[in-house]
Symmetry: C2
Subunit: 230 residues, 2 copies
DNA sequence: TTTTAAACACAACAGCGTTATGGAATGTCT
DNA sequence: AGACATTCCATAACGCTGTTGTGTTTAAAA
């Protein structure tokens, strides 16, 4: 009395296909029939493995958080924790720019696709902040940040960078106030507002820029830069 | 050789119906058939008046920016421009909380519904910042903010408040770091980072809280508070 | 009044998520 | 080995979606 077992690789393969379709052709390409055709099977695979399309999307969102975390974990602690913090911000923005559609789905709240994140998923999203929290604590220990609540500082960093990134992906930041310029000034502002001295913060933010290539130089995800409009 | 003219009220009526459906029943309720049924006509009205569903959504987004502007224009200049600035931030957040689904569509970037904002629409969205820009200029004039670029200050305010609001609507800000607490501390941080003294900023932010009831007390939009998950 | 072009109703098409049905495959038990 | 149970998946269908023909009604201009 035992069943037939399916290939355990099909489930992640479907998520990969979905993520690739989302990145390459936008949200409209996310359909059971399209995914099944790409996988060479019928639409039923989605239901045997996920129960519903929304569940596949949720798994893809989890994959999105995993990619984000992959960026964040690349930031290794150095003697300059403020530089590390700035680099974490750069990592966050780089991940969003590398996976714009996926990032949009991750934080879309209630999307017309009819999927919604569970509380566990949101918890998972918040958990990604631990890297930032730890870094804030090291900024305290180094005397660079005003001693206080590391989680609070992490939240403030998250809010500011997330706000910039979402407006950037929405196409709202242009010309004299382009995302890149705003981001640089914002990083310094954040560090200063957390307690660092202006000259030290500027130097550390500049130092973090130097570390970008060596930190994120390698492959770091098959992420394809999908164009905003399909 | 002249055509039949339709009732000029039907077009805004359709937008109103769509906005109400979005607020009351979420994005899933936005369909031509549902809207037509609600209006007592056939689905063709959408195509005679808008050409496509996506165009109706875009018009609804414009309506969303109009509502946002209605909130912002309620903030009247006083002798304390920093308090005005904080109140503008509160207005922004109140509008988003009053029309959560509409706000999500406004900034969803590329939504699965297959609509995308035009550059003109984004320009319209950016134009909403003029109130904040003017207020920043008055903060300069009053010697409260470090003299500088008013548009830059406005962008930084926008980014920070938008970041908090989107994470709040996404359900990511909870318990000890709930949106309300974070928002209060963030307002002070923003003012200080713009150049205001800490004690003055705290006082002005507190003063802005006192002005909320009298400023936004009235009706201010038929906006219904739609629940996040349908 | 006749003409004419826009507005709308109705029906249809392709596509969507989902489900019912049935066959094929596989691990376990007799 | 053979029988069985149980899962996987293909096929077809249901109700829904946006969109588009087709044809009719309607109001304004000639």
């Amino acid at each position: 009395m035992s069943p037939r077992r399916s290939d355990p690789r099909t489930r992640p393969a479907l998520v990969d296909i979905a993520a690739r379709l989302l990145a390459e052709e936008g949200p409209r390409a996310l359909s059971t029939r399209r995914i099944a055709a790409e996988a060479g099977t019928s639409t039923m695979v989605v239901y045997t493995h996920f129960g519903a399309m929304s569940e596949l999307v949720r798994e893809m969102v989890r994959e999105g958080f995993a990619r984000l975390e992959a960026y964040l974990t690349r930031v290794e602690p150095t003697g300059d924790p403020v530089s590390d913090m700035a680099l974490l911000g750069r990592a966050y923005r780089m991940n969003a720019r590398a996976n714009p559609h996926l990032y949009a789905v991750m934080f879309s709240g209630a999307s017309p696709a009819g999927f919604s994140l569970s509380e566990a998923d949101r918890q998972h999203g918040r958990y990604t902040l631990v890297h930032v929290v730890d870094c804030a604590a090291r900024c305290f220990a180094a005397g660079r940040f005003r001693a206080g609540d590391a989680e609070l500082v992490a939240h403030q960093m998250w809010i500011a960078v997330h706000g910039l990134v979402t407006l950037e992906l929405g196409g709202y930041l242009i010309d004299p106030y382009d995302p890149a310029s705003l981001f640089e000034s914002q990083l310094v502002s954040l560090m200063v507002s957390a307690g660092d001295a202006l000259d030290l913060a500027s130097a550390s933010v500049a130092a973090s820029a130097e570390r970008v290539d060596e930190t994120f130089g390698a492959d770091l995800g098959r992420s394809v830069v999908g164009d905003r409009r399909e």
